[in-house]
């Protein structure tokens, strides 16, 4: 049996803190359902349903790690933790992984409801779940990257908008759905695009991406992103003066 409380690792601390704030927990669990399920049950075009789910996942991911990190940086507690013998890269990896898992835990109930409302081939359901998970990894990496430049949760929102807007555009949520040339290359480098394709397939649309591609390419891209943000750890955890 996994013993989480009292916590003996940073990720356990985050899990305990996540479940200890009951009101916040209810809000966190309810808001994805409130946003996603009515849209999924509506008669709007499937590409927009996929886009709404994708945007909720991206926002949840970016603010997950970004908000946690900047709040802890502001309090000074993360600085204190960084002066323990735990390697800073490991701390950042724990921040990233625990936030991805907790964000996925938040999104899983509405996603299950979506799959019940829109029965789809199991391979596409699995691909969509994996695509959402990888989107959360990428979005949390972006949140951690932003936390390198600010210790204000409000600034995370500001900077995230500037970074996410072009990425969402490139991913083809609303525009750039049939890209060519450089836009096609750029789209293939953004993990959000694979999630979007998998979700569109779940909603019965024909997509050019194969389920295998949804599993392989985001894994490679997100691994590079995760390694990249972990390497920023010494800077991220240094005093902000």
């Amino acid at each position: 049996m996994l013993n989480l409380n009292p916590p003996d690792a940073y990720w356990k601390k985050d899990v305990v803190a996540f479940f200890s704030r009951r009101f916040a927990l209810i809000i966190k669990m309810v808001y994805p359902i409130a946003l996603i399920v009515p849209v999924a049950a509506s008669s709007i075009p499937p590409e927009y349903i996929a886009a709404v789910i994708g945007i909720v996942a991206i926002m949840a991911g970016t603010f997950g790690a970004g908000e946690t990190l900047t709040t802890d940086l502001n309090d000074g507690i993360l600085m204190r933790v960084s002066l323990t013998p735990i390697p800073p890269q490991r701390l950042v990896f724990e921040v990233l992984s625990v936030n991805v898992v907790l964000d996925f835990f938040q999104l899983l109930p509405p996603l299950i409801l979506v799959f019940i409302l829109n029965p789809a081939p199991p391979v596409w359901v699995a691909a969509a779940l994996f695509g959402v998970f990888m989107t959360l990894v990428a979005a949390n990496c972006i949140g951690i990257f932003i936390a390198n430049f600010t210790s204000s949760p409000a600034d995370v929102l500001l900077y995230a908008t500037a970074i996410l807007f072009p990425l969402i555009y490139i991913s083809g949520f609303f525009r750039n759905q049939n890209p060519e040339g450089i836009m096609e290359v750029l789209r293939s480098l953004v993990p959000f695009a694979y999630m979007n394709d998998a979700l569109q397939a779940v909603f019965g649309m024909t997509v050019q991406t194969s389920p295998a591609a949804v599993f392989v390419f985001p894994t490679i891209i997100c691994t590079v992103m995760a390694v990249g943000v972990c390497l920023t750890a010494p800077r991220l955890l240094s005093p902000r003066l």
Binding site: A9, K13, S20, P85
Partner: protein, 320 residues
């Protein structure tokens, strides 16, 4: 007390400098050593470089030049080894407010490598020692400032560090807790733990520290035992006046022989030369300022007087 310099060095600081790019302030050419089991005090007012020095020694920031060793480990190249041997209490301790005091302390103990089996016993003992047992399951956000300080002390010493860095540890502690803390510090030093104590609480430093260094504008101004430093100044008096009402004390500052007037709580402390008639002149200064003296005492000089004598500035640079 055995000669501090004869002890094995737990901390060796060699010509450490760090200047902030924007302000040009920081620390310059700081060198000193702390022996095993020694309590070394670091005193200096705001802006003297104390916090910057502690940031460097706690491995939070790398200096521009110079080096330091903790227990023989290079503080710049062997950060993890240094951090593992160091206990750290920052001046404004922060915790995870949504977790209990026990969960916070357990998290830090395990982060420092305390074994799971031992952590519970060690923390139980420390929570009892600092009277926190009753509150151990309460969320830290419900703790008072003093309780937070005591929890930070527990977190700093639970892993049995060989070297302890304490920044203003007793500020905010009640009298009983201060006694408990001072007893613990003495016990730790007696068991061989070296302690760097940054504090401007003169009584605390005089009571605990084997040696003291004064920091002034980023440099070590003077270093020695409290007795050596106090006896180095002669012809100095310290007049402490308690006034019924706060007054502008410019007239007192203008009295011949007065070096500095410093407010300390409801008291005004006059650092002055020991000349005939100066007490009478100082009292006249207060009366001229409209002050109603309710209590007056003339005391022996202490470390604060030494600092004022050396720099012309007060350690606690508060204004009335």
């Amino acid at each position: 007390m055995e000669g501090a310099l004869e002890r094995a060095a737990a901390l060796e600081v060699e010509k450490v400098s760090l200047l902030y790019k924007g302000s040009g302030r920081g620390i310059q050419d700081i060198s000193f050593r702390v022996g095993a089991g020694e309590i070394f005090g670091l005193m200096g007012p705001n802006g003297s470089g104390k916090s910057t020095l502690l940031r460097v020694l706690s491995t939070a920031m790398a200096p521009d030049s110079g080096s330091f060793k903790v227990g023989g480990h290079d503080g710049l190249r062997e950060k993890r080894a240094v951090r593992a041997r160091m206990g750290l209490m920052v001046d404004r301790p922060t915790h995870y407010g949504d977790l209990s005091g026990w969960a916070n302390a357990y998290f830090f103990a395990r982060s420092y490598g305390v074994e799971k089996k031992k952590a519970g016993g060690i923390l139980t003992e420390l929570f009892e020692y600092f009277d926190l047992s009753e509150y151990k399951d309460d969320r830290v956000k419900t703790y008072s400032y003093g309780m937070g300080k005591k929890l930070a002390l527990v977190e700093a010493i639970a892993h049995g560090p060989g070297f302890l860095v304490l920044d203003e540890p007793s500020l905010g502690l009640d009298y009983t807790s201060q006694l408990a803390y001072q007893r613990k510090i003495r016990d730790l030093a007696a068991s061989g733990v070296s302690i760097l104590l940054a504090s401007n609480q003169v009584d605390e430093v005089e009571a605990l520290c084997d040696r003291v260094a004064f920091l002034h504008r980023g440099r070590v101004l003077s270093e020695g035992t409290p007795q050596e430093l106090v006896s180095s100044i002669s012809g100095v008096k310290r007049i402490v006046a308690t006034l019924r009402n706060p007054v502008e004390y410019g007239a007192v500052e203008r009295v011949s022989g007065v070096d500095r007037v410093v407010p300390e709580g409801s008291d005004l402390v006059v650092h002055c030369q020991d000349r005939a008639g100066i007490v009478e002149d100082v009292v006249a200064g207060f009366v001229a300022s409209g002050g109603d003296i309710t209590e007056l005492s003339v005391r022996q000089p202490n470390l604060e007087d030494v600092y004022v004598k050396l720099t012309g500035e007060a350690l606690n640079n508060a204004k009335p």
